[in-house]
Symmetry: C2
Subunit: 229 residues, 2 copies
Amino acid sequence: MAYSYEFPRAALTVDCVVFGLDSEDLKVLLIQRGIDPFAGKWALPGGFVRLDESLEDAARRELQEEAGLSKVFLEQLYTFGDPGRDPRERVVTVAYYALVNIGDHNVKAATDARNAAWFSVTDVPSLAFDHAKVLKVALERLKGKVVYQPIGFELLPRKFTLTQLQKVYEIILERELDKRNFRRKILEMGLLEETDEIEQDVAHRAARLYRFDEAKYKQLVKKGFMFEL
Amino acid sequence: MAYSYEFPRAALTVDCVVFGLDSEDLKVLLIQRGIDPFAGKWALPGGFVRLDESLEDAARRELQEEAGLSKVFLEQLYTFGDPGRDPRERVVTVAYYALVNIGDHNVKAATDARNAAWFSVTDVPSLAFDHAKVLKVALERLKGKVVYQPIGFELLPRKFTLTQLQKVYEIILERELDKRNFRRKILEMGLLEETDEIEQDVAHRAARLYRFDEAKYKQLVKKGFMFEL
DNA sequence: CCAAAAGTGTTTCACTTACACCCATGA
DNA sequence: TCATGGGTGTAAGTGAAACACTTTTGG
């Protein structure tokens, strides 16, 4: 690798695909752009990487600044850098995806008067830049990852019912799961801690609440355990 | 995402983890650096991204220039951008990994008089920058990917024996596989085309040669087929 | 004829899948 | 008492894993 200070340089940004879940749909968080290019269009939250921060730090900072989100699950997705993806100049973006529990996080109105809103992933508006492609890649990654990594929990409150968890998987995978088989499988993994609480304010028998046991999971992984479906 | 021309910019590079295979070992291609920083140290092949080329094009160009490799399997791995990973200034690198058949590709002496050589992945020298980490991530990716994507073939000549193929998996996964089960499983997928040729110059019964049928694979994928192990 | 790897089936076991009813609760 | 989802077990089928000997060829 040779050094070369004389070359003009691409700009470097991060963009975040933030997934959330309500009882019906998988949602993605979008920001309405205030300025050109694509003023007024919806886009993924993101922005320039500063010279003194890591890529992940930049992604977290943008999430905080543009949507008031902090301490969320965040993982690098892919880097998009085709010439022409930004109409003005060469911009390379490192895309991340995040999983949040919509209930916990009130997406605040962004500081700089741009709108932030959740859209069902099956019904997103036309997006700025190549963000439609980024979203597509993120969705594929999420579907692929959710079956062999315990990340479904990230979309739920810390305590949840088994039915809620099943719903998470059904929505992401876009297929129905058998209730008894699902419960047996997930419980036999030993990753869920049964709490002594039950759900509140439901007009039927209240379900037991469970909690994902992170410590137990890490411990099992060390012994060769692999999460699956 | 706001525009901001006044910020100083990170430099952008690509680095490639090129995997090859001989009959014993999984190998990685390294280049001995000619200039500082890390002059004399071994490093992954790579270099600066030009403003008018895509990231993948940059990776392919560097492979061609530094190692004489072309038309290889190449896939984006991860982007490494921690401040401080380059001692001189902020450099963000988009890492790719490549799979090549060592026999087919004579790694040429690099044009600028730097050495290129294959090292067993279990015995690599100390590497420049954070390339040890990049290599580690690439190895994990390869191990994870090889079981659910038919990429093992990329490390073999176009025609190969079932034993060679089995060896590929055994070396990458670092565990032994059962011969009969392996052959049954791989043949039942219907991805291998039996040729009428057999291996040459062996001091024992010569094995039949097979070829990976790319067209068949794509066709099966459309019907929902998933490669596995 | 010996050494070396090619090639070939069957049984066992574990896991996945399909499936239906009673229970608890609040309205 | 009715509507709603919570919670539970079993049988059948499918796929994975374990396992050893005969065949072919070149030296």
